[in-house]
Amino acid sequence: MLLFRSEENVAAWCGARGNPVRPLIRLDQLWHLAVTWYANRLTVDSRRPGPDEMVAIFAEVGLEGPFWDPKADRWGSAAEP
C-alpha cells in the first residue's frame, strides 16, 4: 500500500497503470490500524489477528465490505481481474 499526497495523485497513479482506484485511507485510520496490529508485536503473546478479528478491526475505523474481508472471494468490482 502506497502513500500519496492527494486523491488526485492516486487517480493519476492508477490511471497510468490501468488499475482501478481502490479504497483510500486517512492518516488517522491508518494509525489506528498500525496501533491495533502492532502495539504488542514485541511481546510473548503477539500474533497476527485472525480473519474475523481483522474484519472487526477494520470496522472500527469504518472499513467494511468484501474488500476488507480476508475470507471474501469477491469484492464487488467489475474492474477486478
Binding site: 500500500m1 502506497l2 502513500l3 500519496f4 499526497r5 492527494s6 486523491e7 495523485n9 492516486v10 493519476a12 497513479w13 492508477c14 497510468a16 488499475n19 482506484v21 481502490r22 479504497p23 483510500l24 485511507i25 486517512r26 492518516l27 488517522d28 491508518l30 494509525w31 490500524l33 498500525a34 496501533v35 496490529w37 502492532y38 502495539a39 508485536r41 514485541l42 510473548v44 503477539s46 500474533r47 497476527r48 481483522m54 477494520f58 468484501p66 474488500f67 476488507w68 474481508d69 480476508p70 475470507k71 471474501a72 472471494d73 469484492w75 477486478e80
Partner: protein, 153 residues
C-alpha cells in the same frame, strides 16, 4: 526438539528476531538467532518456517536464512524510512511505517514519498499519535489477496 517445547522455542525465536530489530534496526539471520539462543541451526530454520506459516515473518526470496519482512519491520531498505532517536528502520509499506513507532511505543519521523510524483512526504508521530499531514494511503489489493504476494502488497 520435542513437540511440547515447539511453541516455546518458536516464541523465543520470534522474540529474539524482534528484540534484535528493535535494538539494531537490522534483521537477524538464522545463524544469528541460533548463536543468540545457543540452539541448533536446524531448529532455528524450522522455527523460521513455522513463523512464516503464522505470517509473522517473510523469508528473503531464494534465501530462507534471511528475513525480508518481520512486520512491521523490513529486513531491507525500502522507500519508508522510520527515524526513531538515532536509529533508522524501514517499514514494508505505509501501514508498517506507522506500525514501527506503534510497536516500539516511541515517537518517530517517517520519511516517505508520494507513490506517483516521488514528492517527499514526512509524517511525524509525536506523543503517541501522528501529526496531521495531507496524505492518503491507497490499498491496491483486497484483504483476501494480501498474502498471495505480500512483497507486492
Amino acid at each position: 526438539m520435542g513437540s511440547g517445547a515447539g511453541m516455546d522455542f518458536d516464541t523465543a525465536v520470534k522474540l529474539n528476531i524482534y528484540d534484535t530489530l528493535a535494538r539494531t534496526a537490522r534483521a537477524p539471520a538464522t545463524h544469528d538467532v541460533a548463536a543468540a539462543l545457543r540452539a541448533p541451526l536446524a531448529d532455528v530454520e524450522a522455527a523460521f518456517r513455522r513463523l512464516h506459516e503464522k505470517r509473522l515473518l517473510v523469508p528473503e526470496p531464494g534465501d530462507p536464512s534471511r528475513i525480508r519482512m518481520a512486520p512491521p519491520f523490513s529486513g531491507v531498505e525500502t522507500p519508508f524510512r522510520v527515524r526513531i532517536e538515532d536509529r533508522v528502520y524501514y517499514g514494508n509499506c505505509a501501514w508498517d511505517a506507522l506500525g514501527i513507532p506503534a510497536a516500539l511505543h516511541r515517537d518517530a519521523v517517517v520519511e516517505a514519498t508520494d507513490g506517483h510524483t516521488g514528492e517527499p512526504i514526512v509524517l511525524a508521530v509525536r506523543d503517541g499519535r501522528p501529526v496531521p499531514e495531507p496524505c492518503v494511503t491507497h490499498f491496491a489489493v483486497p484483504a483476501a489477496r494480501w498474502w498471495e504476494d505480500i512483497l507486492h502488497t
